[in-house]
Amino acid sequence: MSTQTLQQPAPPKFGAPVLEASGVVMRFGGLTAVNNVNLTVREGEIMGLIGPNGAGKTTFFNCLTGMYKPTEGEVKFQGAVLPPKPRAVVKAGMARTFQNIRLFGNMTALENVMVGRYCRTNALAFTSIIRGPKYHREEAESRRIAQELLDFVGLGHTSEHLARNLPYGDQRRLEIARALATDPKLILLDEPTAGMNPKETEQAKDLIFRIRDKGLAVVVIEHDMRFIFSLCDRVHCLVRGETLIEGSPHEVQSDHRVIEAYIGQPDEDEEELVAEAHAHDHETPPTAPTAPASPASDLTKEDRA
């Protein structure tokens, strides 16, 4: 995999909004995991989504991708309201990866990516049994695109390996390739560098820039602040389900409330959050959120989707 010289975030000169989420609320019984969140992502933009553990970032992703039906609010994609059906969302052009890797372990890397092509191909049962020239063309096309995507994420040589045999970092990249195979306009990455070493994290950053350069919009959840602030055009910070601030990396980085949210300000009913936030102390020191971050593998919770 080539590690190009690091690109700087592109100047904030973006196209039309791809994703417009407005007033999204998600309640689980008495718990409001996402509370009235608005998010607009524009073409060619890399949006960071940060917040302490349990802030509702993954839940928000699930609301966007139709895995949860938001209690309130609406999600518009390229101007049209999305139905809360994961398949319709993918078909519309929004793909995602998972915080806890959800590959198809017993399929090869190539087959995993080809599953991503499913919604862009249409060979039906009859065609698959008869196998005329059209079927072979479509299969070959899927295979070619899948192989190109594997090359794109730097896994070209592992195409025939079982997904479950790949090292952790490669599995994360394979998930990205699989998501890209659905031809998305917008890709949602849930902690793409969790469990990666610094070198792999650098490669992941490079990969995300290259994805953006393909013309995709990107939303990325990360706990690694240095990664987020050097990658994103805008950063959106969630705390306890609510938007704390959205702005350029510089604005967010220097906002004292963000720092407080991560270290925690003890008050009556927030003991839990404080305890959780303390677990992050070594990751985001109060004075300098851009200090070297440690791999966040042990800090991430399981995705409940």
């Binding site: 399929m107 499913y118 862009r120 698959s128 196998r131 479509e138 025939e160 045999n165 659905t182």
Partner: protein
């Protein structure tokens, strides 16, 4: 990437000082065993298919000759005469298993003679020569040490040799099946099973099957053609025996139905407990449209139309059951299909004119369904081909073979397509599959209704073959047996289902006590399978992986074989 397998891959030269005394001992045992087969084992000609004649080995004695010849083959391997084969097969393990088989077999024969002759006084010296020979083989091979083996995937023999191996294997299966079916005597059949189990175990331990599976993966087409040829040739080995062909046809119908169910269970991962009802729906459609005097539908279209109607009716039933249940989680489907099976049985029991329209004659069913007739070809007649009479059952057998071939084609092609990948993805992680744009509901519904379609198709033929259709042929127990065949043989594997269906259908036909206690025996069998080999006897590669999610060694091995075969230009086209 791949870690090295358990066995070293280097070609180690044979360094045992051979032939050793043990080697000679085992050889002497094998020779004695052969000699014993040419002697009389017992005075009573009526016992065990006549083992009383000197110099003419009877059936069971021939089995021992085979064991001894195999043992001698492995002994020759051990002497280092064939270095290329020696490193491929573990002769020590194979010899041990072969000797143990011979001993067990001879002791069992002695016991049978003692019990049924009655008394060992009726045994002839040949029996004791055989026992001594087997014991010597065991004594000689017991201490033999295994040599390091090479990994079979690294070995490439000339293509024609590999194909020859497949052909020979197929021929052995053909003759084995013909011989087994020919055994009228339950005891002989049992002893044959002991022999078969022992030899298969010996060859498996010797590493022959892992080698053959590599060859088979390289030559899929040849293997398929070979299997088809064997199935096609089988009736010609039966010399017009209707009894055997009837059993063979039953087995084939059962296997064909199980293959259809395996699309639902093995590929799409859905638990369908009412599959037999779809077979029944096809059978009833066919019966009602037949020329039987008890058929109440006036329209008598050509049979091919009946087949299509039966299949469509079945699949519509499948759609009706499937579309509400497949949206919810898998357990509901099991319950609903279970209920559907009962509803079907009760419905056909009641459509007798009293409680509903007069269609099925209730519990009496529809008897007297005439044989099929395609032009001048009547399925009830005996036709002589190449001097071999092929009776009524053989005719249906060939017809079912075509259906089975069609279902296998559907099975394998769907499995290796976009749809098949979707099914695997659903089995692996349904939520993730949905999030990647796979139409999970549609694919499951398709599998369910498609499986029903194939069952309906098979049912239309079964009705004519069975002559009559009654509700008690299509009860829950039959669905359970179909499922058992799949679990036993291997989910998602064509060969596995064929093996499973054959075992489950053939044993009760051949052995009274298995028929009497078949629920108990099959139950125990399944429990044992679940404990020791949950993926089935002949599993598909993927299913084996799924059942052993923690087995890293297996995953590495599977990947290694896959890489080797994917890299092979000869087989690249078989994969695509």
């Amino acid at each position: 990437m791949t870690t090295s397998p358990a066995v070293p891959r280097t070609k180690t030269s044979v360094n045992n000082p051979r032939p050793s005394p043990q080697w000679w001992l085992a050889l002497a045992g094998a020779v004695l065993l052969i000699a014993s087969a040419f002697l009389s084992w017992c005075y009573v000609p009526a016992l065990l298919g006549d083992l009383s004649i000197d110099a003419f080995p009877g059936g069971l004695q021939i089995l021992m000759i085979i064991v001894a010849v195999l043992a001698i083959f492995f002994l020759v391997l051990r002497s280092g005469r064939m270095p290329s084969m020696d490193t491929l097969l573990d002769s020590a393990k194979a010899l041990k298993a072969l000797s143990a088989t011979a001993v067990a077999f001879m002791v069992l024969v002695a016991i049978v003679i003692a019990l049924q002759a009655p008394g060992l006084a009726n045994a002839n010296p040949g029996l004791f020569v055989g026992i001594v020979g087997a014991a010597l083989m065991l004594a000689g091979s017991w201490q033999m040490a295994s040599d390091p083996l090479v990994d079979p995937i690294t070995v490439r023999l000339p293509g024609w040799v590999e194909i020859l191996v497949i052909v020979v294997m197929m021929a052995i299966i053909l003759f084995g099946a013909a011989y087994a079916l020919g055994q009228e005597d339950g005891t002989v059949f049992c002893l044959f099973l002991v022999f078969l189990g022992g030899v298969v175990a010996a060859l498996a331990r010797g590493g022959l099957f892992s080698w053959i599976s590599v060859i088979a993966a390289r030559h899929r087409q040849v293997l398929m053609m070979g299997a088809l040829a064997v199935a096609f040739l089988f009736p010609f080995t039966q010399n017009g025996s209707d009894a055997n062909m009837s059993i063979a046809t039953q087995v084939l119908i059962f296997a064909t139905t199980a293959l259809g169910l395996n699309i639902v269970v093995g590929l799409a991962g859905l638990l369908d407990l009412g599959y037999i009802a779809f077979l029944g729906a096809g059978a009833y459609v066919s019966a009602m449209m037949s020329h039987s005097a008890f058929a109440h539908i006036g329209w008598k279209p050509p049979f091919i139309v009946v087949v299509i109607i039966g299949a469509i009716v079945s699949s519509i039933l499948g759609l009706i059951i499937g579309s509400p249940t497949l949206r919810v989680s898998g357990d509901y489907l099991a319950i609903v299909t279970l209920a559907f099976g009962e509803i079907f049985r009760l419905t056909v029991n009641n459509l007798d004119g009293n409680n509903g329209p007069r269609l099925t004659n209730g519990p009496n069913g529809i008897p007297g369904i005439p044989d099929l007739e395609f032009g001048a070809f009547n399925f009830g007649d005996t036709h002589t081909v190449l001097g071999i009479p092929l009776g009524r059952f053989a005719n249906y057998y060939f017809l079912m073979l075509i259906v089975a071939g069609f279902i296998i084609l559907v099975f394998t092609r769907l499995n290796n397509s976009r749809i098949g990948r979707g099914w695997v993805a659903i089995r692996e992680d349904e939520k993730a599959a949905e999030a990647m744009g796979v139409n999970t509901f549609g694919l499951k519904l398709f599998a369910f209704a498609g499986g029903a379609f194939l069952a309906g198709m098979a049912g239309t033929i079964k009705a004519h073959q069975d002559v009559s259709v009654t509700p008690d042929q299509y009860i829950f127990l039959e669905s359970a047996f179909l499922l058992a065949a799949i679990v036993l043989g291997g989910m998602g594997s064509v060969a596995g289902v064929l093996v499973g269906a054959t075992v489950l259908k053939l044993l009760p036909e051949k052995l009274r006590f298995v028929a009497d206690y078949r629920l108990l025996i099959f139950g125990l069998l399944l429990v044992v399978m679940m404990r020791f080999r949950p993926e089935g006897l002949v599993p598909s590669r993927r299913r084996a992986l799924e059942f052993h999610a923690d087995d890293q060694e297996l995953a590495d091995r599977v990947e290694e074989v896959h890489l080797e075969i994917a890299a092979d230009p000869d087989t690249a086209e078989a994969k695509a």
